[in-house]
Symmetry: C2
Subunit: 191 residues, 2 copies
């Protein structure tokens, strides 16, 4: 998606260690019009798939999932991270390693909001090693829900998550797929 | 706002200890059409105030802030909780006590996304003791930004946060303001 690629090139920053900072428009400050365009794009990609729920994980995935859900007219469920007194005990859980924070964390979704009647689109802001998406898929398995596909804003295509998911037969649609980043700030995208 | 009050009465659950669970439509599963209506209502209330940014805090505030921002056509900034490697060191911070989690936590906003040129609407899902809103106001003070007002989905009007803020001259608009809740599930609203 050219619009997102251009935004990454003009407003993103590459930091040492393969970190791409997009907090000016995606995951700290949110460019609402841009995020709505991403939501619209996910709708165009998955509109005929019978999706009745969108699953994401707090916090950065929420705005993108919410934008897409406005076009699909379906609810969003966001997985909670860490222990949550307020979620209760009747939950599906998965453990996920955060490469950003350098430690594992737990994700949970209340059993009330996912079940075998659900056809689910997973949406998240980033896909790199795929840890978060795999954890959400594990939660869908526990619920007996069907995974329709995965919509990602920015895929670090030089990390293995996307390739592994596609090799496993998952439909992964990334709106910007980065081929390489260098420490001078250069970013190349896959066509 | 009748629509929200009705939703709370039909889908909310009162738990012992003054906990109101609204995770079926607000802060775990999200009813997108309802949240868009809340956003529209905040726009109607504050449309003439020259707001150029909406500030909230992850995670439950994000969808409501994002909904409102679509009408205001302004960016959303969400404060991050806890220590964030990815936010960097150039941040405004505040410490806040979470009554839900029973412990204090830090909130931070990058200095890049708030400044003295900003006229800010704070939006959050709940107002009870007012800890989170006061922490966001402390962050606005550090930034030299102007607070226009506070938009809250559900105010627990029997807790002191809202009254304290109004007494301090802050314009607080709560779309559903609860007068009382009892352990049998009864909920009364202020008119």
């Amino acid at each position: 998606m050219k619009l997102l690629e251009e935004k990454i090139k003009t407003c993103g920053r590459v930091l040492p260690g393969g970190v791409l900072k997009v907090d000016g428009f995606l995951n700290h400050q949110i460019d609402v019009d841009l995020i709505m365009s991403l939501g619209r794009e996910f709708f165009d990609l998955f509109r005929d798939e019978g999706i009745n729920k969108i699953l994401t994980v707090e916090a950065s995935g929420i705005s993108i999932a919410f934008a897409a859900a406005q076009f699909f007219h379906v609810p969003v469920v966001f997985a909670k991270k860490g222990e949550n007194k307020n979620v209760g005990k009747d939950v599906y859980t998965g453990e996920c390693f955060s490469f950003t924070k350098g430690k594992p964390y737990e994700m949970s979704v209340s059993k009330a909001y996912l079940g075998k009647e659900d056809s689910v689109l997973i949406i998240d802001d980033f896909l790199a090693n795929g840890a978060a998406v795999k954890c959400l898929m594990h939660i869908l398995d526990q619920a007996g829900a069907s995974l329709v596909g995965v919509g990602i804003a920015i895929e670090k295509g030089f990390q293995p998550g996307g390739s592994e998911l596609r090799a496993a037969g998952v439909r992964v649609e990334s709106l910007a797929r980065i081929r390489s980043m260098d420490d001078e700030g250069g970013i190349e995208f896959f066509d």
